[in-house]
Every structure is written in C-alpha cells, then in structure tokens.
Symmetry: C2
C-alpha cells in the first residue's frame, strides 16, 4: 500500500460536477490501495473575482488583508470536495494550510514554505481518511495567514509530498509537458519524461504549465512528479532526476516569450560604479531585468550596456533614465520593441559538444537575425524580431525533432 | 475616550459602495474619540450561495465541513472592510474568530460562545487600530472552526462587548425595534427603549430583528445594546435593564407567528408515563413543540393533550402517531391548520394587575375566538384562526397604544 499526493487546479474543480469527477478519480486511486492526500486550488475564477473586489476598494490594499481575502477560495474548495468524498461513501477531512502544518516565511502574497509539520496529515491518514488540503496558503510564525504567490498550490503539493516522501501528481487542463507550447507549434511532441533541471529551465524561460519553484523543491527532495490531464487516463509527463538514458535528444524543449523590450544605454563612463548604480536604480523601480550584455570600454572610455525586460516596464525605465541624465553627463538610451525571446533547452548540451554550434548554424542557414544571445549550461536564448517568431519556431522544431 | 462594539449585518456590507458607507460611519465614530471594534457578517447573499453550493453536492454534508464552508463569507468581509478603512487613512486590522479569541463549545453549526480571550483585540486597540472581527464564527477546543447558528454575528458582537465591558451597537436594515412588525401593522411605533426581558420575549415570540441568544448574553453581562439603521443617523432602540420609569405602558409589543399547527391527541390512558413518552418520541423526530395544554382525566380515565407546532412538522407528527397507535390502544389525534399565534408582551404585566384581564376583554368585546392561550410572567399568547389575524392585530394595537 502506497501513498500519493495529488493536486487539482482551479479549472478541475470549477463546479459541483467537476468536483464530482475529481472525487471519483481520487476514490479510484484509494480503491487501488493507495492513501491519498489531495491539494486543491480555488474554484475556477474565484481568486480573480476576489482580486477584482479588492481593486474596487483600493489600488494598494495592505498585503496582509489581501492574503486573508484570497486564501478563502481554497477553503471553499476543500470543504466542498470533502463533502463530495463523504457523499460518495469515503471518509475525508479538509485541512486549512494551518491545520496541514504549512509553515511559511517571507512577505505576504509571496511567502515561501519553510516547513511542513505533517503530524496532523499523518494522523488522519492513519485513520484511513482521504486528506484534503488547501493549496496556496500557510501560516507564518506570527500565526498570520500567508499565500505563496503564482503556482502556489503546486508548491504546497510538492512540499507535502517531499515531507511525506511520496510521489506527487499534478493534474491540470493539459495532458503533460510538451517540447513546445502546442498553441505555438501544434505538432509539438508530448514528453514522457523530462529532468528537473530541464523543466526548471523551461519554466523560467516561459513555459507556463509548471512554476520553477515547485520543480525546484521536487528536485531538492527528489520527489517524482507527474503532470497530467485532470479528467482522463492519458499518460502524463514524469519529471525526475536526469539520467543519461532518459532522452537521446540533445534538445528537449523550446519556449518563446513575447513582449520583450531591448534597452541600450550609451556613453556610460567606464569604472566609477556607474553600471552597478544603474542596475540598483532599476531594481528600486522593480524593473525585471533578464538578459544583459556589456561592451568593452570604447575609445572615449565609456561602455554601452544592453538588457532585455518586459515592455510593461518601459515607463519605469524612462523615469530612471531621466534621473540618470542629471547625474551622468552625456548618457543616453534607445529602446526596441516587438521582440521575442526564443530559447532551446536540453540536458544534452552539457554532455554533447557541438549542440550550441548546431543551433547557431540553423539561425544562419535560415537568415534569422538575432539581436542578443545568452547561454546557460542547458539552454540558449535568442532575442529576435517578432516577425521572425513563427519561422524560427518552425525551423528549430523540425530540425531538432521537438 | 470610550470604547464601542459595532456590528454591521450582511445587507450593510453587500458591495464595495456599502462597505465604504460603513467604513465612513466607523471613522466618524473613531474621530469622535471612541475606540471601535467592528463585527461584520458575510456580504449580502454570500452565505446562502455557499449553502446552495453545498446542497448541490450533498443533502446531508458533514457539519464540520459545512462550518468550514460557511465561515469563509465573513473572512471576505473583514479583509475588504479593513482594506477600505486603511484606504480612507485609518489603520485597521482584520481578525478571524480564532484570532479574536472566540472560543466555542457545542456542536458544529450551532456552537455557543464559551469565552472570549480578548488579549489580541486589546493589543490592537492599544496600537490605536480599528479592529475588524469576523462574526458568526469561532474555534472549539480542538481548534476546529465552528459557527454560531442564526443571528450568530449579533452573538459575537454582544459577547465581545461583554468581555470588553462596553456598549454594543447592532446596525441593520431597520431603524430599531417596533412595538409590532411594521409589515404587519404599518402604524406601529418605534420604541426608544425596551427591557432585555421584553426583547427576549418578543424575539422568542417571533420578532425577527434580534435573536434571543444575543439579548440573553447582553442581559447577563448588562451590556447596553442599541439597535439602529445601518446608514443614517436616526435614533435606534436601546435595549437595557428594566426600570419602572422606562415605559408607562403595561404592554410594550405585539408579535404574530404564522403557520401554526394545533395537534390534539385523545384517549391517552391517564398515568403510566404515556404523556412523557409521547413528548420524548416527538423530540426524537425534532418536532418543535410550543404551547401545551392537558385536560384533567376524563370519565374513561384518559386525558387529552393539545399542543402547537409549526405546520412543517406535520409529517414527523404523523410518523410518531402511527407508531403510538401500535402501542397505545384507542389513541387518536386531529390537527388544525391555518392558525396564527398572537402574543402581547410587556414588563408592566408583572407589576400592574388587570393587564391580562383587559386583553381577554378585548378578545371578547370584538368576538375574536381563540383556541388556546398561554401566559408567561410578561406575555400572553393566543392561538387564533388566521382569518382573524389582521382584525386582532388592529384591535390590540389601537386599544393598547402600540
């Protein structure tokens, strides 16, 4: 007899009928002999509706009160799912984040899980109950309710599985992890397996199915993670420790991020900590900087810096640059919009030589220009004109067999 | 500088605009120099919507899960109201029932407040904050969330005021307590004052503005209670200790309850515990019995019992009587529907002689027949035909100056 943590997202529990489907799947698993801990999100658009209510009241509400507000959605789901399981003849009990022992640290609305005190979960499992836990929430050491930010319910599920030392299954409205988002490239292939590292890299680079944080925890505690469809019996994707026999391919996935803004700052006097200053000011305005490149000192002893960010940050950048013009003589900047970042990811890059060269060659052979490029151990990212996006995705997908 | 507990019901906080009105009233009070603890109910129809969701899932859901579900409504209101108060420039903090120290005992969905551990409320008041508390909920000694049943938020407010030894103001969608429900008798007078006892009696006898339980707690701890309109500055009704100068009138109020069912059981063998048996069986079926009268033993050494109940209980009574026919020979019963209970209430009855006689005379003079009558120290209740309801209310209201 095993133990499994299952997580069902908001669209899986959007109404009474869907809650029934989920309950039946859980019971099926329980009947097969496994104990089940279920983590659920808020029903359908509940959290968005609560956020809209808050916006009616304040453009900048206290974050403590926001956490109180948005943590109610999951409380509704856990009670309804427990009722349904009981109605279908299986004893179930709902636990809030606090009751499930989810201890958090950090600020409201983006807390991190510090520990899972799993005694209460274990007690109810020992009594042969199905344990239904509110995702996305916990309590900090002041006993205040906190939420975990984007993808928080996945994080709850993985953290509980890590503590209970059992596998974790994430059920959602897609049937697994694809080499490329199928909305972008309909022929994309579903992956049967992917390594933690590749998944993290894909998530960081824009793949939306999983948030990097939950994959990180899974990797740290070696929790086997399955991502699959919430309704059917289609096999999903297993995310696990990399092993060399896992994939023959050097490149596992491709992701694309729209709305990239490329900012170039010229005439920055070399030395004098100017660069550090600029990035500090940008950070103070919450500009989220992605790829950075800096030129060697030019003849007039200045440097040029380019970085990419989201075009939503254009106003904040304008503000910072206006301030910098007053303190740094001759500094100026340009921005370029309508750009896309395309990344290819694969553990194979680490072991196989020539993978990066091969990708660069594909860009050259197909006359695709890129404005900037960065590499990590297992990925290469290119900034290209958005006009070239579809062509690039198609060329890379076919050539790399994604 | 004083301290006050204010309670706002669900219709007072039904949307963002109404929450703003409530916040402005609270701030006005705070500006006048009083510290304020606010208790709120769930917004508008939130609780009913949650109940409907539960009904979609189960006709008999576990009560623990019901309490988890229906306690979320108040959590939404406290966070939104706190946001609004902060938005308007006043520091406020929301507290759940647990955080406010509301300790309960008894079963789920109808728990009673055992204690209010008010340290946390006091701490925040000391920091000059407006404290916003979720009504209707608490935690029991197993740290489980419980709710307080009908009128639970009023009970929360009065219990907190009792503990903090300060007045309590209940704001609702009526502007006070009337001698008669104005929907029944439009010329009814608003009472400026009423005693705890009269209010309890009126509440028990069908006046819907206040639940008896919260008035009971107010009486026990001598909490001055004001009931008034949630929006305006109209003077409400003060509910307080009875004193003889309070009202000149012997009768303070009149209430009427519809859907009364009169049940008469004949041929019950005298002695042998039969009467006790019958009432035990009725209680087991949750039949709520109101007025009881029993005849002296008749010639055949049997007695006849009449009692009133709500006509919703007709089926349960039929079931009990079918069983009794098997065990008690010759027993039979009749029921009479379309009856109304009209009650008059007044502390004056206790001190002034002839009040009851005067009321009986009004029935006789106006040819109004009654089927049953009971009296308490401060009330008289009559069961009449529903056809006579309007006439009776008018006759009594005019003659008694209500």
């Amino acid at each position: 007899m095993g133990l499994v943590v299952q997580k069902y997202g908001g669209s899986s529990v959007a109404d009474a009928d869907k809650i029934k489907n989920v309950a039946e799947r859980i019971i099926e698993r329980k009947k097969s002999g496994d104990d089940v801990v279920v983590i659920v999100s808020a029903m359908g658009k509940t959290t968005n509706n609560l956020l809209a209510l808050a916006r009616e009241i304040s453009s900048n509400p206290p974050k403590r009160e926001m956490d109180r507000l948005i943590s109610t959605g999951e409380l509704i789901t856990i009670s309804l799912l427990s009722m349904m399981l009981n109605e279908l003849g299986y004893e179930a009990i709902s636990l809030t984040g606090r009751q499930a022992g989810i201890i958090t640290e950090g600020s409201f609305m983006k807390s991190k899980i510090a520990d899972v005190k799993s005694d209460n979960i274990k007690k109810h499992l020992d009594q042969n109950k199905i344990v239904v836990v509110a995702g996305f929430q916990g309590v900090n050491d002041l006993e205040e309710i906190t939420t975990l930010g984007r993808g928080g319910s996945d994080t709850s599920a993985v953290a509980i599985a890590a503590k209970l030392q059992c596998p974790c299954e994430i059920y959602t409205d897609v049937d697994g992890i694809y080499s490329i988002d199928p909305r972008l490239y309909p022929d994309a292939k579903k992956l049967s397996q992917i390594s933690y590292e590749e998944m993290m890299e894909m998530a960081h680079l824009g793949a939306k199915v999983m948030e990097p944080r939950s994959v990180e925890i899974a990797a740290k505690y070696n929790v086997p993670l399955t991502v699959g469809l919430n309704t059917g019996n289609l096999a999903g994707t297993v995310i696990k420790e990399y092993d060399k026999g896992m994939e023959q391919k050097s490149i596992t996935g491709l992701s694309a991020t729209d709305n990239v803004l490329l900012v170039t700052i010229n005439n920055i006097p070399y030395g004098e900590n100017n660069t550090a200053n600029i990035f500090t000011k940008l950070a103070e305005e919450n500009v989220n900087i992605d790829m950075i490149s800096q030129s060697s000192p030019l003849d007039n002893n200045t440097v040029r810096i380019s970085f990419t960010t989201n075009k939503d940050d254009a106003k904040a950048i304008e503000k910072v640059m206006d301030e910098l013009k007053n303190s740094i003589d001759g500094i100026n900047y340009q921005t370029e919009e309508d750009l896309v970042k395309v990344s290819v990811i694969g553990n194979g890059m680490r072991d196989q030589s020539g993978v990066a060269a091969n990708v660069f060659k594909l860009f050259a052979d197909n006359n695709i220009e890129f404005l900037q490029v960065t590499t990590s151990e297992i990925s290469i990212s290119y900034i290209i004109d958005s006009i070239d996006k579809d062509k690039t995705v198609n060329v890379l997908a076919k050539a790399l067999g994604l």
